[in-house]
Symmetry: C2
Subunit: 425 residues, 2 copies
């Protein structure tokens, strides 16, 4: 196959006619395929079926002297705090266990920052004239949405192969109105990048002008390798402490993609001083989060070692899907030189950059052929990709056969949109 840009207009017209026929054939199939969200598939959920029977009786509900069934233990059951400390490489005293969604903990942290301020705030953020928040992009739409919801000015920071552009971050944090940054440090959403050791070290060494600057460290994919062995990752909390900025980072994680997406447990990890501060605030929100589910998780997952064993089962299901995506893109798109994409070894996404100005059109075409994808622009602040190029592919939900069909549709749409652009159609 000759790259599109090396073809004559006539050759492009021919290619366009051919792709249009292929597209219409897909359309006539009445497909209904979903690659929109990082949803685990049914067989992945089955991997954790044992958690449903991990607690069977009143006796099972005891964590030492604590009856998990009753009120109390706002910071979480001791065994759950120990579990997360093991997984994240921090101390149990540095953890606070939340409900089924780490997103909710992130929301509450930013919400509390707005209404009451963080540990080192001189006033609540709502009193500040301007609050700016750094958004490495492409990134996670729900992160950006939280800070947008509270009226922060979202600043795009480009992603590099080793994480956010740290030169730019170091420059931007000199502005005291810049109050924080969103990070997915391991298998970033959607790029699947693991922040390099240097990037992590530069984060820990940040000296922001704002005393209450917060690194929102969403370690959502901390044990989520689907190819190769577990990749150890530095503990950001001790890294910041070593730099004299122990309170600058708040880390998050959950079991949503380890056990059950709709019924996991979450964790907030931070310095002891931050945990004390957040515990005081969360004590107004609630009495405690669901401790039975915490115990259920600890009984089923046991520890980091056993969790990594379970993740191998997820990997067996995920790897063929990512391979399928890569294979189809390599075969259908690569030779045409109209898009570039990453090849992650963990996480939930493939990030694809299509020919500039075609992402919206590609996803519109997909939709009209029955394939739902994350909307164009979603990976950028305010849902606006300045190059209209980035597309997040989420291959986890459909079975491989459906995924291959969906990717067939997708590749046809990528080609059609490129051809439309090149032909000014």
């Amino acid at each position: 196959m000759i790259p599109y840009t090396n073809r004559t207009r006539q050759e492009l017209e021919q290619a366009y006619e051919a792709e249009l026929i292929a597209y219409k054939a897909y359309q006539s199939k009445g497909l209904k395929l979903d690659m929109a969200r990082g949803k685990p598939s049914k067989i992945q959920l089955d991997v954790a079926e044992g958690i449903l029977t991990a607690i069977q009786s009143a006796e099972d509900c005891m964590d030492g002297n604590i009856d998990a069934r009753n009120y109390g233990e706002l910071q979480g059951l001791p065994c759950a705090r120990k579990y997360w400390a093991d997984v994240l490489g921090c101390k149990p005293e540095q953890t606070f266990i939340g409900g089924n969604a780490s997103l909710n903990l992130m929301f509450d942290v930013i919400s509390h920052a707005y209404t009451h301020g963080l540990l080192h705030s001189s006033q609540p953020w709502c009193r500040e004239e301007t609050v700016k928040f750094l958004c490495p992009s492409p990134g996670y739409d729900r992160h950006f949405r939280i800070t947008e919801f509270f009226g922060a000015e979202l600043i795009t920071v480009p992603m590099t192969a080793s994480g956010p552009d740290m030169d730019m971050v170091e420059e931007l944090v000199k502005d005291p109105a810049v109050k924080g940054i969103w990070c997915v440090p391991k298998y970033s959403n959607p790029d699947g990048i693991i922040y390099s050791d240097e990037t992590v070290a530069r984060f820990a060494a940040l000296k922001p002008a704002a005393p209450d600057f917060v690194i929102m460290w969403d370690n959502a994919y901390c044990v989520h390798e689907f190819e190769g062995e577990f990749v150890p990752f530095p503990d950001i909390i001790s890294a910041c402490a070593e730099q004299g900025s122990a309170d600058m980072v708040v880390e998050f994680a959950s079991t949503s993609k380890i056990t059950l997406a709709g019924g996991g447990i979450s964790v907030l990890a931070a310095s002891e001083a931050n945990i004390a501060y957040f515990t005081k605030l969360f004590g107004v929100n609630t009495i405690s989060f669901d401790k039975i589910n915490q115990l259920r998780h600890v009984r089923f997952l046991k520890d980091k070692k056993n969790t990594l064993k379970l993740m191998k089962e997820h990997a067996k299901i995920m790897a063929p899907k990512f391979a399928a995506v890569a294979d189809i893109l390599d075969k259908e798109i690569a030779p045409l030189q109209i898009a570039a994409w990453n090849r992650p070894k963990g996480g939930y996404f493939v990030s694809l950059n299509a020919m500039e100005g075609t992402a919206t059109r590609i996803l519109e075409l997909c939709k009209q052929a029955g394939v739902t994808m994350t909307p164009a622009g979603a990976t950028f602040p305010y849902g606006k990709d300045p190059k209209d190029s980035n597309i997040r592919i989420a291959p986890s939900l459909p079975p491989v056969a459906e995924l291959e069909e969906a990717m067939g549709v997708f590749c046809t749409c990528v080609k059609l949109a490129a051809l439309e652009k090149l032909l000014n159609k």
Copy 2:
């Protein structure tokens, strides 16, 4: 026994010496008894043991076509919405299912009101010069704390035998700065009062000056009779709708005291327009609450009828405890005419009014004898009881024998504090 106020100083001195000996005897026992919070006892938690095995397999996790294990269904599983509509007497479309604590839903509603406003707000409450909130007292400290946390001015409204003083409420809502009121309409915390039909009707007919005035209707004890049959209670949502104020009320409930205090499910019930509004807001907070636990609850509790059957089991455990409290107070305190208390048939508390100016001293004495109670003043805004008189007794946690001992200590402290006051000690 002669009432204290009819005794001579010498008789009072004698009584004081006798009570002091009794008190010191209790102190020497090294007791550790807890009547501080409305915590269910272990045997009450055992009543719901079946919920731990209500879901055992992947197949059990289906609610129709919805896999409760996965992401989605922000408003809650259809079966859980139906369950709560049955219990509360509203429509499934008028419900939104939350996590394990209704307090968290209440916090989020007030928090959203402050940062973004309610459905009919012209601006977020944080932009208002003053926000006033009505607090029928004695009431629930955690309610008052939420509005205090956001800086509202808390206004005490006295409780009567039929609910809050509605003359006063109707007068106060003429002030546009008055944005809402906290209510526990059935078996109020701590008085155990059921709002009369007239009170409910007057609530529904309120015409507050603030267009975004909200009745925070915490129906925490909606099925929590421990004596006699279930008492039907009007649906406040339709009552408000009939008065043309469908959006004025937000109702809350949970299974914390039906199944498991630390692992129940909660509900927010309101007009369809309010549910749509809150769904939009909560969609920023989270992806969905724990749906497996929703399904577990519906499978175990089934419906209102079956829930009421289960509540009879709780009643069997609770009734003797409340009887023990009443018996001891009747025997030890009533003849002395130094306190008055209510005799609820449901809920979790006995509200006692001691001789004015003695509540703090009573609870200090209790503490020094190893009996933990809700702090004095807790049932009033800002934790300050102007008469220093109200004490909330929570008899649910200790076994009857321990409860009797704790009440023995308590009565001695009530007497001692009264004698100290009468003798100016």
